[in-house]
């Protein structure tokens, strides 16, 4: 799982590149996609023009619908569909919101390109049909020779030129539509991402609280109840002048108090590791590693102390990785690499059985969201059979 994909805009332009070799243009999908796009552009443009003239009173609805069609039509070029802004629906046909978010401009562009595309489109289509017709009749008459070569050459040239023209027009229209609509689409994507990451974080908080409650219930509270029982028993024994019984009960009570304190200490460390605040991330990770049931090798490089937020996120990421690998991985070697630079980088490697994944709602997924919230990135590779490599990087200052 990677979280840092290349910026969508670069990706967008990259997918629109046409081959420079004309022969390859004939078999490249982009050219034929462009032809399809341009033909639908003509239809879409005429529809936009007609509905715009006939429905001038409901222009907001027309422009809104046109923009939606244009968002979807990018798929014809093999591009990702642009998502409309949430809540940008028009409530009634003259709702002025229909004109906003680049919709009006896209409506105009659609008409313009529809009309422009129609001119070379019809000319080239006619030329292509004429030369194809000529070629077919020549084949039919059995005239193999110069004439036929010329006809075939002409068809090829018309096709290649047609494909390049269609590509140029389609790419130009797609880029303009993209420029008009992408800002709103990006915004909508960010809103989606924020919503889901906020939900994840809320889940993490809830899970944390449950975990702490469990820790306290199964740990300190049990020992305290036991302590109360033992003290009660001591008192009961004293009431019957059973000094030995009372002494035994008090000794047991002493152990219960010690067990309760130990358990509380564990719980507190689970909430916030003291060492992390006092001695920094490297020391805390070393101590965490030393408490694992499997041998963990810790390598630290650099000495740039991360901010408290980053330290905590990195610590818990490593802690969660340990928990998971102790539970599932059956690993014999575990290595943690911590590079204390800007950005801070961490790696947890184990030679266990692999198959680890980020399941929404589970510990790791919340930590991934946390990492993202701090502007960091997260990467996990864990093929079935292992090994598992978890890698995360945190910028010193969140972007």
């Amino acid at each position: 799982m990677t979280s840092q994909s290349p910026p969508p805009e670069t990706e967008f332009r990259h997918r629109l590149v046409a081959p420079s070799n004309p022969a390859r243009m004939l078999i490249s999908p982009i050219g034929w996609r462009a032809v399809l796009y341009c033909f639908t552009s003509i239809v879409s443009g005429l529809a936009a023009l007609l509905t715009g003239i006939l429905g001038v009173m409901i222009l907001p609805l027309v422009t809104w619908a046109t923009a939606n069609v244009e968002r979807g039509r990018l798929v014809l070029l093999g591009l990702p569909r642009l998502t409309p802004l949430p809540r940008s629906r028009v409530r009634h046909p003259w709702d002025p919101r229909g004109l906003a978010d680049g919709n009006l401009a896209v409506w105009g562009i659609t008409i313009l390109f529809g009309l422009v595309d129609a001119i070379p489109g019809s000319v080239l289509a006619m030329l292509a049909l004429a030369s194809a017709d000529l070629l077919v009749s020549l084949i039919h008459d059995g005239q193999w020779g110069l004439q036929m070569a010329l006809a075939a050459g002409m068809l090829t040239v018309v096709l290649v030129v047609g494909l390049y023209v269609a590509w140029a027009l389609a790419a130009a229209q797609a880029i303009i539509v993209d420029i008009q609509l992408r800002p709103h689409s990006d915004l909508s994507r960010q809103v989606d991402e924020l919503t889901s990451s906020r939900r994840e974080l809320v889940d993490v908080f809830a899970a944390e609280r449950r975990r702490i409650e469990h820790d306290l219930h199964d740990g300190a509270q049990q020992h305290l109840v036991l302590l109360s029982m033992q003290l009660g028993e001591a008192e009961y024994a004293l009431g019957r002048d059973d000094l030995d019984g009372a002494r035994r009960a008090l000794e047991a009570a002493q152990s219960s108090v010690e067990a309760a304190t130990t358990s509380l200490r564990e719980t507190i460390r689970g909430i916030h590791p003291q060492l992390l605040t006092d001695r920094g991330l490297a020391a805390a990770v070393r101590e965490l590693a030393s408490r694992q049931p499997v041998g963990v090798h810790v390598e630290v490089s650099g000495d740039l102390q991360p901010t408290e937020q980053v330290s905590l996120a990195a610590y818990y990421l490593i802690s969660e990785a340990f928990t998971n690998l102790v539970k599932h991985a059956q690993a014999s070697t575990v290595t943690v690499r911590l590079a204390l630079y800007d950005p801070l980088q961490l790696e947890v490697y184990d030679d266990g059985v692999g198959g680890a994944q980020v399941t929404p709602g589970h510990g790791l997924s919340g930590l991934v969201e946390w990492t993202h919230a701090l502007g960091g990135s997260f990467w996990l590779s864990s093929p079935p059979g292992g090994p598992t490599l978890l890698r995360a990087s945190f910028p010193r200052h969140a972007a």
Partner: protein, 219 residues
């Protein structure tokens, strides 16, 4: 008495068993989770006979929520004469209500776990519940009273009567209440009669009265 003890925490279970055995009881079965508790009861019922009392934790595996409580409800339906004493780290009237809803005549107790520490009181509760009595933790009664603050009927009770009410819910008899409040049993009997009159409840004897009061508070 023959007892069955169910608690998922081995330490606590061992502590309870030890304490009960030293007090002269016989622990005929132990269970570490809710299904085991039910299975042990079935086993005992089929062989040597049901125990005189079941002491069980509310929160137990498998789901670590109120599995013990649900097992108790199940047991109450299957064996209406089997007395139950439920222990919990955390008590709430809602759980007590669930226990009391089951139609069964046998003794019933619902106490905070740490009450076990008051060994003499705890052993008395054990006896009381096994004998068919009802014991509800003062904490539950307190919460119920708190929830009914401003209730015009409860407002008519004097502070002394409220005190008596709490002790009653805790399963204390008139003479025990008298001992604890340092008054004469006759005075306690008068308070009890007043409480029942003010709450419009028919005069009830002993354990039924606890049930009546709790049912009233839980209404």
């Amino acid at each position: 008495m023959r007892l069955l003890v169910a608690d998922d925490a081995a330490l606590i279970r061992a502590g309870l068993v030890g304490l009960l055995e030293r007090a002269g009881h016989q622990v005929v079965g132990e269970a570490a989770d809710a299904p085991e508790l039910v299975a042990q009861c079935r086993r005992l019922a089929a062989t040597e006979g049901l125990p005189d009392l079941v002491i069980a934790d509310v929160r137990m595996p498998p789901s670590m929520t109120d599995d013990g409580l649900r097992a108790a409800v199940q047991l109450r339906e299957a064996y209406p004469h089997l007395p139950l004493l439920m222990l919990s780290q955390y008590v709430a009237p809602a759980y007590a209500a669930t226990l009391m809803e089951a139609r069964a005549s046998a003794g019933l107790g619902y106490l905070l776990k740490e009450r076990v520490g008051r060994v003499a009181d705890f052993l008395r509760s054990v006896e009381l519940v096994a004998a068919g009595g009802m014991v509800v933790d003062p904490e539950v009664v307190g919460q119920l009273l708190n929830a009914r603050r401003g209730d015009p009927v409860l407002n008519r009770l004097t502070p002394r009567e409220l005190e008596v009410l709490s002790l009653m819910a805790n399963g204390a008899s008139n003479s025990q209440i008298a001992e604890q409040l340092v008054v004469t049993p006759a005075a306690v009997a008068k308070h009890v009669a007043n409480i029942f009159a003010k709450l419009n409840l028919g005069p009830n004897e002993d354990n039924r009265r606890v049930r009546a009061v709790l049912a009233y508070l839980n209404r």
